[in-house]
Amino acid sequence: MDDRKKAILAEIPRLRRYARGLARDQDRADDLVQDTLERALIKLDNWRTEESPRRWLFTIMYHLFIDQMRRTSHRAEQEMLPLDSSEAIGEPAVQLDSVAALDIMDALQAIAPERRAALLIVGVEGFSYAEAASILGIPAGTLMSRISRGREDLRARLDDADRRRNIRVVER
């Protein structure tokens, strides 16, 4: 394996984490990783080898993901998902350790894909604002607004989930 491929291989764990945050469902997320790798191999010459392939790979994945989301929403599958997406019929079981992890993943899936991506890239993957803006192909101001709105959305969703659980407990 040449050095370029080795460098790409080393990014796979992070790509998987990023994909799982974007798409949640394990199979869909891993397909996204596969698509990204395949696309990267085709476009290997676009990567300036003096830098880490990380940003380049994250850019590819983000664009594949957004393309996918657009197609999905064309098919209106989104509105078929029940509010509590963890209870969606046919959704493969996710292996998460705790209710807290389930809640946060549900909340994350409930917010707009562009905001979700911004939160993950900056908050989880640790890219700087400048890097994140370049990955997402947006100006810094737009990035900041996606982050602040994304965090607000996430907080509101988590609060909703807490409320629902409390109601269930009371009903018992």
Partner: protein, 260 residues
Amino acid sequence: MTPRNFTEQDLHLALDGEMSPEDRQALDLWLDNNPEMKARMGRFSEDRDRLRAANAHLVSEPIPERFQRILTQDPSAPRLRTSWRQLVAASLVFALGAIGGYGVASWRQSPLAPLKAFADSAIQAHDMYAAEKLHVVEVKADQRDHLIGWLSKRVGVPLVAPDLSTQGYELIGGRLLPDAGKAAAQFMYQNADGDRVSLYVTREQERAQTGFKSIVEGSTRAYYWMDDDYGCAVAGVAPQKTLLSIADSAYRQYLAAEIR
């Protein structure tokens, strides 16, 4: 030092390490006098930690062989898919026919056993419902999005109801059908003369690649094909050229819908 004022935006800048150490220090002092903002920042930080924790295990897991293979293998090797793509790559069957069109039969002799089985079901389903006057479809095309979403979900395939307006056919609706223990979807189309076309979809386990194949049974002609692990069949009494054009159009629209 003049006390500065901060906004919510600054909370994010601080959280994300986009603030100079001096500003950060000033912010911390300011937060001590603004408990509400301090709580808000604490909450954002806590949510971020939860987000980080949720999928942290993926970073320490060994790299699945599936991905290693992509980098080590010949790029022209057949690709392995788990879900989505594989879901798209479910078996699609196109059955096309005028009202009361008949035509099945000699599929049984085909060497394409998996294709034959679903094509058979597709044509039977078509014959059954294309002849209906009142109950052709279960969900009408005026609820197109719901129809497609619902059938996609039940069949386990992100479906497309192809646009066949070039061939003069309009979607009139669709229905869910049982097929050998699986769910199958049927989309029904109709042209200005009332001739009907149906698209039948199930998931298939087998994989194959064929070109278009054609059979004729009575007055009904069928075009069918398999690509990756899905197959399509188009059958009808419409002119051969029209049928082929519909088959080609459906084939292209399904390919286009697959994730690149």
